[in-house]
Amino acid sequence: MAISTEKLTHILQSFVTSTTDIQGAAVVTPDGLPLAASLPGGMDEERVSAMSAAMLSLGDRIGSELARGGIDRIYVEGDKGYGILTSCGEDAVFLVLADKAAKQGLLLLEIKRTLSDLKAVLM
């Protein structure tokens, strides 16, 4: 069955709009191409996708080479907010951009929930 981009986009949009302090989200291929995105204005989908793929692949490599095991997620914490990358099955990477005010526990729970929705569409 073909992957429905509309469904993916819909999931991302409702995730971004319904969760407080989330500013954007994207689902990209492991080689850095956009599948679906709901990003803040001015952010280029293609660039965001390539960066997500590069970061996750390096994280994976650190996990295996520096004996940290399989990588669940990568956190980028800046003074303005978070960028969180989560592997979404074999064929996708999930990126979430959140405000500094975001509550981390809530954030992780929401990410987990959205991941399973995304995976269901990607299957």
């Binding site: 080689d31 850095g32 660039r47 996708s49 590069a54 390096l58």
Partner: protein
Amino acid sequence: MEIMRLVVTGPVGAGKSTFIRSVSEIEVVDTDRRATDEALLIKKRTTVAFDFGRLQFGPDMALHLYGTPGQSRFDFMWDILIQKAHAYILLVAAHRPHEFREARRIMMFMKQRSPVPMIIGLTHTDCPGAWDAANIALALGYPNPSRRPPVVTVNANETASVAQAVIALVQHTWSGSLAATS
């Protein structure tokens, strides 16, 4: 121990990852992922961050080789890698003339960001339809043979051939720094 950082760049499928794998003494740190874009026409996997290899060069110098991704969507990696490079080699597949323009674009990107020495490495020169060095140099914007970077032919699969290219790059870098100090 002096460390010289060399960047290996060029369009998709030029042979950058293979180049580094051929000469590295350590197991190469690669970040390749299954390709889903136009790279798929050429190969199954593609680099998404960088390749890293190391080569001991004489008793007190180590070469660190960094391979860039080929696709321009990863140009932030090109930027990161070239900032710290001492020199770079632009690999160009001689038998895919439609990519020369992309090779030239990558070269201009690098030149705008870094003045370090570079050479051009031609790969796939044994493939049908391969252009000769003079014409490729012309296509890359070097009409005058006496005023162009060194052009070497390299078989990325052969360690000896890649080593020759690396030596040419290091020599070119040294001759440049000698000229600058004299």
